[in-house]
């Protein structure tokens, strides 16, 4: 996981974080407590007409991710740790993974250890879970990701954001 400070809302600075921000602040601990929190779940798709249409047209024999919720710590206080439990969907980052019934999908969360340095960081580099699809017509799994933000007492004000790569691989099984 890399953490970076995002630019301010000044239009000259804030178009894309990648262009401006260095990876110099790595103060957030991602406990990386990945958990398959529910075997199946449904969320209302109210207002998601376009999404439903797209899905209906190409959903056969597909593999998809839906990032239902980012892992958002919100306002945090310097010198204090904020932990979000992966098992509580209201707080955790959450995803729905769908695939064809019978397909075997492996979910892998990679937290880049080389970028994850700092006094508070102790995440495992990779967590793997194996999701089996048995439902019909599509199977759905919800994956939750929790973590902890631990800014030190001298952390500068601003918006900080990290990126975690998640992989869903069809094994062929």
């Amino acid at each position: 996981m890399c953490y970076r400070r995002l630019p301010s809302s000044d239009p000259s600075q804030s178009r894309l974080a990648e262009a401006i921000v260095s990876r110099r602040t790595y103060w957030i601990v991602l406990a990386a407590s990945l958990a398959v929190v529910l075997g199946s779940a449904t969320y209302p798709l109210t207002g998601q007409t376009a999404a439903i249409t797209v899905r209906a047209e190409v959903a056969d024999a597909s593999l998809s991710w839906e990032n239902i919720q980012d892992l958002v710590f919100g306002d945090v206080a310097p010198g204090m740790s904020t932990t979000l439990d992966s098992r509580i969907l209201a707080n955790a980052g959450s995803f729905e993974i769908r695939s064809t019934s019978g397909a075997e999908i492996i979910v892998d969360v990679t937290v880049l250890p080389a970028l994850a340095v700092g006094p508070y960081l102790d995440p495992p580099s990779t967590l793997v879970t194996n999701i089996r699809s048995n439902g019909s017509p599509e199977d759905l799994r919800v994956v939750g990701l929790g973590g902890a933000a631990s800014p030190d007492g001298t952390q500068s004000p601003g918006v900080y954001e990290g990126t975690v790569t998640l992989t869903a691989a069809y094994t062929g099984n």
Binding site: A59, A61, G158, A168
Partner: protein, 281 residues
């Protein structure tokens, strides 16, 4: 209702509505890749996948091909082995299948067809060649609003890996059962399955387990897909909760029946049937 009471009621209703809206999930990021298994024939040398953004924000999507296949680790767990530099004996198609386009920006609701064009070497022998198609999506981020305090969050880059199979000429497959063991561990049946692939193409099949009691009634059954590209040694665990103590037989059948792949793409092979006894309780 007094005006004060009504105001309190109104505030409460507004607060509840705000909470309800906040609890509604917003699918901000969603990328679909179809199909999850691509088969390309040597005669046409083309294939395609469809990318779709069913989220509410634009996505930047990258498509790449890398040699890979499913394997098992020392604990019997499956994983996808990705190999950056395949050797001459590897049946890799990753170097000579190209995707067009490889980068695309998908607006919400938008679809994009990615063409796959194969340019295999002239001396390519008959058989099957493999690759994995890796689709990486990341939400397009616009202006970030800063404030005077500290705010923190994590966004996600999503990688979807699907299989690509290229078939030329005469292709055949088969498997040899090198190991089959099963035992009751706690409240589960733990089975180990060893398989070696034969022929010049991957074996795509499934395993069917049945637990039958002394009256030959099926007490439990499970079907799980099984792909063998080289050799695998797979551990599987199935729950036995609720079965009364006693002696049971486990029937094992490996066949080329698949739920998730059109049967036209599954190569035939003879089934393998075995059975063994287990004691529960």
């Amino acid at each position: 209702m007094s005006s004060k009471g009504f105001l309190r009621y109104l505030l409460k209703a507004v607060a509840m509505a705000a909470v309800a809206v906040a609890l509604l999930p917003v699918i901000s990021s969603a990328v679909l890749v179809a199909p999850h298994a691509v088969f390309i024939d040597h005669r046409t040398r083309t294939g395609q996948i469809t990318l779709a953004n069913s989220g509410t924000e634009a996505e930047e999507v990258q498509v790449e091909l890398k040699f890979g296949y499913p394997a098992t680790d020392s604990l019997g767990n499956p994983y996808v082995e990705l190999i950056d530099e395949p050797g001459p004996d590897d049946r890799s198609a990753a170097e000579w299948i190209r995707a067009y386009p490889t980068r695309v920006r998908l607006e919400p609701g938008q679809r994009q067809v990615v063409r796959l064009l194969a340019r295999p070497p002239a001396e390519l022998a008959d058989g099957e060649y493999w690759s994995r198609i890796i689709v990486t999506a990341q939400r397009v981020r616009e202006a970030i609003v800063a404030d005077t305090g500290l705010r923190a969050g994590i966004t996600f880059r999503q990688r979807t890996i699907i299989s690509a199979t290229y078939r030329k000429g005469e292709v055949q497959t088969g498997v040899e059962l090198t190991d089959l063991r099963g035992a009751v561990e706690g409240d589960s049946l733990v089975a180990w399955i060893g398989l070696d692939r034969g022929g010049n193409a991957a074996y795509l099949g499934s395993v069917h387990f049945e637990i039958v009691n002394e009256n030959d009634d099926v007490a439990r059954e499970w079907r799980t897909p099984m792909a063998v590209y080289h050799s695998i040694n797979r551990r599987m665990a199935f729950p036995l909760t609720g079965l009364v103590p006693g002696t049971y037989r486990v029937r094992f059948e490996l066949s080329t029946m698949r739920e998730d792949i059109p049967q036209v793409n599954v190569l035939p092979a003879p089934p393998i049937v075995r059975s063994f006894a287990i004691q529960i309780g």
